[in-house]
């Protein structure tokens, strides 16, 4: 007898993989954003594809090089690229160029109350719905990340040596103040209740400001730079990528209820395999988090009942770079650096 390892390939696959659809596109997946029950995916060749009900659209040729960043404005996709363009794209592939900065990359895009916002170099550009020319927010150094609070009255811009906090007063004038901490700040986010501001840094930690008194503190203990973070639930946890020392992948979840995370220990959701968690995505409306690992595997865990961990995707040997859940929470899309994509339903047939 000859053992044929390809004879039972289904045995290695999770039930999510078995009932889902896999795409082996071979193009690095950079980002994914859900729009209604579709998910837009940005790739390392500058294209965007729309996935709906397990079907993949024709590629939309958005950028020349790569889709550096992605967000949404209602039912449209926003993208920024290394061709210096800031684009608004409809789900059927119609492209509208909002801004063009030539050889300067568009590093961040977002939208708020109809305003379209991007950053390129040291400047944030904001296009109001009825204005042709953008408003410019200038900074002293290159911008790492941008984020609005839930009400859209505050815009946080991370950069070297801290964050510039722009506040809109009641005459709709923007005033800036500075939150200072030396070093290079990358991504930035408000907590859902607007009480805290967090940044990832070049160092192996997360910096946090309590905004009522601007007290700052670090959430540290990481053995690598924090690549991905996301608030999970209304005012509950900040889930982050990471690992526990050598060889134990973990999503680190810091408590943000009550008096916040200062002086408290995080919950560590551990996963098998000698890897890192490279991407975290909240399960909308649940205190649960999807964690993608450097080997391509993806798990779903409830933060307060970590025994309830299930494996969604087994390994692909390629780092997970994107996870997105459709707005009705029925389906999930997972993408990695190797260009492997899985679309699958989250619930068993009988529940859906």
């Amino acid at each position: 007898m000859i053992a044929d390892t390809n004879e039972f390939p289904e045995l290695d696959k999770t039930k999510f993989e078995q009932r889902g659809t896999e795409f082996k596109l071979g193009i690095p997946v950079i980002n994914a954003v859900s729009i209604g029950n579709s998910i837009a995916v940005g790739f390392g060749d500058g294209t965007v594809r729309i996935f709906t009900s397990g079907q993949c659209s024709e590629p939309i040729k958005a950028h020349k090089g790569i889709v550096l960043c992605m967000s949404k404005d209602g039912d449209h996709i926003l993208t920024g690229g290394d061709d210096g363009r800031f684009l608004k794209i409809s789900l059927d592939g119609e492209i509208n160029e909002i801004g063009n900065f030539g050889t300067r990359w568009v590093d961040n895009v977002t939208a708020n109350n109809g305003n379209l916002v991007c950053s390129s170099g040291k400047i944030v550009y904001l296009w109001s719905p009825n204005k042709k020319e953008p408003k410019l927010f200038e900074h002293n150094s290159t911008i790492g990340g941008i984020a609005f609070d839930a009400k859209g009255r505050r815009l946080a811009v991370s950069r070297y040596d801290g964050v510039t906090l722009w506040k809109k007063d009641y005459t709709n004038k923007w005033e800036s103040s500075n939150l200072i901490f030396k070093g290079s700040h990358n991504k930035v986010s408000f907590s859902p209740d607007g009480k805290y501001l967090v940044t990832t840094m070049q160092e192996n930690l997360i910096r946090c400001w309590r905004l009522k008194d601007n007290v700052d503190f670090a959430m540290s203990g990481y053995n690598t730079k924090v690549k991905s973070f996301a608030f999970v639930g209304e005012t509950s946890y900040l889930a982050t990528s990471g690992a526990l020392g050598m060889g134990i992948a973990a999503a680190i979840c810091w408590p943000f209820d009550g008096d916040g995370p200062m002086g408290r220990k995080p919950t560590c959701l551990q996963y098998s395999g000698n890897n890192q968690v490279t991407f975290v995505e909240p399960f909308p409306s649940e205190k649960a988090v999807f964690a993608g690992l450097s080997d391509g595997s993806v798990y779903l865990s409830e933060i307060e009942k970590s025994s309830n961990t299930i494996i969604i995707r087994s390994f692909t040997e390629s780092e997970v770079t994107s996870i997105a859940v459709t707005e009705d929470c029925s389906s999930i899309l997972i993408g990695d650096m190797g260009g492997n994509i899985l679309w699958t339903s989250i619930w068993d047939e009988k529940k859906s």
């Binding site: 390392g44 070297y160 070093g183």
Partner: protein, 324 residues
């Protein structure tokens, strides 16, 4: 080994304004047919650069929060290199052109400090383009010019048609005094075979093994204290590992700002492997590099390039590390 093959080589081009960096850059881009390059520039538009993929950078330097004031890195490079590594089409090489007054240390240190950058790219070499006519005065007036020579793996001595032979010798001597290990290539209009400046792997520990022992320079003229010079030491007596680590660690911690580059091959008592290291300021890359070759004499060699080296009692410190 497979990991190493995946790393895209990054060549850093330094040199004062007008030395010929852009000429060299365009030469590389036009002569390397069929290769995909990304070029990261800071003075875009000064002269046209003939390439599909030109990225504007801001040359932003920041200090790492690791308690070391000389540990400065280029934040814009981390961002751009990380972005370039996400491309679907793989690059053959990346070239970083720095501004005329740039200190090369933060560029080099970026490759030590950021794990993502170190995993996917590697610093191939620092190539400094120097103007044979003006280098001497630039070295006197600007410490950045000295640093660019001190960090160079290759110095392209350009515009040699504009100086006479004795003038050329004076400039070369000046370069050698700062950095006796850099390869000096004479050119006019940067005409140089590209294999002399690309894919040199100059920062790999294997290349440190090529460091020749016959570089002892004893003809020290009276120099200004803050001139960049080099010192090197050889010992045929094996070193005591503990003593060496204590001395060298303390040296880098206290004098790291003045020590620009170091390289060494070390013979430790009772160790069968050769130990090799190379560093930029306080940051080190070090590893055992296999057994000593059969039939070759074991010896330790140590090289420093930096400022105020005379005041650091290096010779005495090194002598004290010899095993009894």
């Amino acid at each position: 080994m497979e990991e190493a093959n995946k790393q895209v080589p990054v060549t850093v081009l330094t040199g004062f304004l007008g030395a010929g960096k852009t000429t060299l850059l365009n030469r590389i881009l036009t002569e390397q047919h069929g290769k995909k390059y990304a070029v990261i520039v800071n003075e875009f538009g000064e002269q046209g650069i003939d390439n599909d993929l030109v990225v504007d950078a801001d040359e932003e330097v920041f200090e790492m929060n690791n308690g070391c004031i000389c540990c400065t890195v280029r934040g814009d490079l981390i961002r751009i290199l990380s972005g370039l590594m996400k491309r679907a089409d793989k690059l053959d090489a990346i070239i970083v052109e720095t501004t005329g007054l740039a200190d090369p240390a933060p560029v080099a240190q970026t490759f030590f400090v950021d794990q993502d950058v170190a995993d996917r790219t590697k610093l191939d070499a620092i190539v400094t383009v120097a103007d044979a006519v003006h280098l001497s005065s630039q070295l006197t007036d600007h410490h950045e010019a000295e640093e660019q020579i001190a960090f160079a793996d290759v110095v392209l001595l350009n515009k040699i048609d504009l100086v006479d032979e004795s003038g050329l010798e004076v400039v070369k001597e000046r370069i050698k005094k700062i950095n006796p290990f850099a390869k000096i290539i004479n050119t006019t209009k940067c005409g140089v075979p590209l294999k002399e400046i690309l894919n040199l792997d100059a920062f790999s520990l294997k290349r440190v093994l090529d460091v020749e022992p016959d570089f002892l320079t004893s003809d020290h003229d009276h120099e200004h204290d803050d001139d960049v010079t080099s010192l090197s030491f050889v010992s045929n007596t094996p070193l005591n590992m503990e003593k060496f680590q204590e001395w060298f660690g303390n040296l880098l911690q206290t004098k790291g700002q003045d020590i620009l580059r170091t390289k060494g091959i070390l013979d430790f008592k009772d160790q069968s492997d050769r130990y090799v290291f190379q560093g930029v300021h306080m940051l080190m890359d070090a590893s055992p590099m296999g057994k000593w070759p059969e039939g070759k004499e074991r010896s330790s060699r140590l090289v420093f390039i930096g400022r105020n080296l005379e005041s650091m009692n290096l010779k005495e410190g090194f002598e004290n590390c010899k095993s009894a």
